[in-house]
Symmetry: C2
Subunit: 203 residues, 2 copies
């Protein structure tokens, strides 16, 4: 009998480099799917619909909420973000591991549905570093920086709910850490109980 | 404040290739110490005192037991094996991670002392494979094979107490799995609570 897929939920403050890290992890490991979130915010330069996000209008988002199409959805910086239900459950049942990149509130909500989910918090080394990264992010309005720093603080307060913390002061180290967490969880005994019997010598 | 070291306990049936795997892991990862067991059995070809085991006479072993020098000790194949107390506790306090390669009974006993210890079970793919490996092991007496198979069965029954299972049908994959488990556990939030505060932005 096939192992059920593992749900990995990755969060962290804006500017922690989650997207870059996860793209590298996806390139290096097989058997892994990245669930794409739905958002009402405007695409940044280079962002592609269906790759980075599913970009939807407010009314379309409302419709999806009404039709119960989200595992969870939240508002953030006056924009809305949602995790589509379709895909995630099917992938897990088919034995594929799934990565969701979502903010902390949604992560904790999803953990209450998927008890076996693994929560990973990506963070730059220090708070100074975080601020530098927010500063250098040209695509953001400068007047929203204070707001995003405040929200970052709130994210850090939720860190205690997470299983793992992955530093991103060196992207290669961070990628190796995320990959290690995935490989280790795949080897966790409680996720392989169906397979254990075949290791017991029959005679 | 420095993180306390993590205790990794690695077990698995005779012939599972634990020694080879752990030597490779020790070469690849830093911050890791391998605790050497004490035994009363005869050295096999190529085994060096103080490297593979501390080889001691029965009376010397008795003395160590009397002086409370072991974390745990057991009898196996009419030989005795013990985990020296000295070293392990000091290394952990100094923030170094320690690997103990011991059999299942001792592992479970040590887990009851070191609650945060991580238990890893290394196994070849199948029971057939296990038997082949026991057959090809020239250094063993052929008449002890049945006994060691019986003991292997008993080891597998204790597998349910373990945190992780690492397949050794491919040594490189097995080494990567063990390394992943170590890196992941180093990133576990509950092992980094002292460090969390510095990630919270101060303003």
């Amino acid at each position: 009998m096939q192992r059920k897929g593992i749900l990995f939920i990755v969060s962290g403050p804006s500017g922690a480099g989650k997207g870059t890290v996860l793209n590298q992890v996806m390139r290096d490991l097989s058997g892994l799917s990245l669930s794409i979130s739905v958002t009402t915010r405007e695409p940044r330069d280079g962002e592609i619909d269906g790759v980075h996000y599913h970009f939807r209008k407010n009314e379309e988002f409302d419709e999806m909420v009404k039709n119960n199409e989200f595992l969870e959805h939240v508002s953030k910086y006056k924009n809305r973000y949602g995790t589509p239900r379709t895909g995630v459950e099917e992938l897990l049942d088919a034995g594929r591991d799934v990565i969701l990149e979502i903010e902390t509130k949604g992560a904790i909500r999803i953990k209450s549905i998927f008890r076996d989910a693994v929560l990973v918090f990506i963070t730059p080394y220090s708070s100074d570093e975080l601020e530098t990264r927010l500063d250098s992010r040209g695509s953001e309005n400068s007047n929203s920086k204070e707001l995003r720093l405040k929200i970052a603080k709130d994210e850090y307060k939720k860190m205690k709910h997470y299983d793992f913390i992955a530093l991103n002061d060196d992207i290669n180290v961070c990628v190796e850490t995320i990959k290690a967490i995935i490989i280790a969880e795949r080897s966790r005994l409680t996720r392989n109980t169906n397979a254990i019997e075949r290791y017991i010598p029959s005679k």
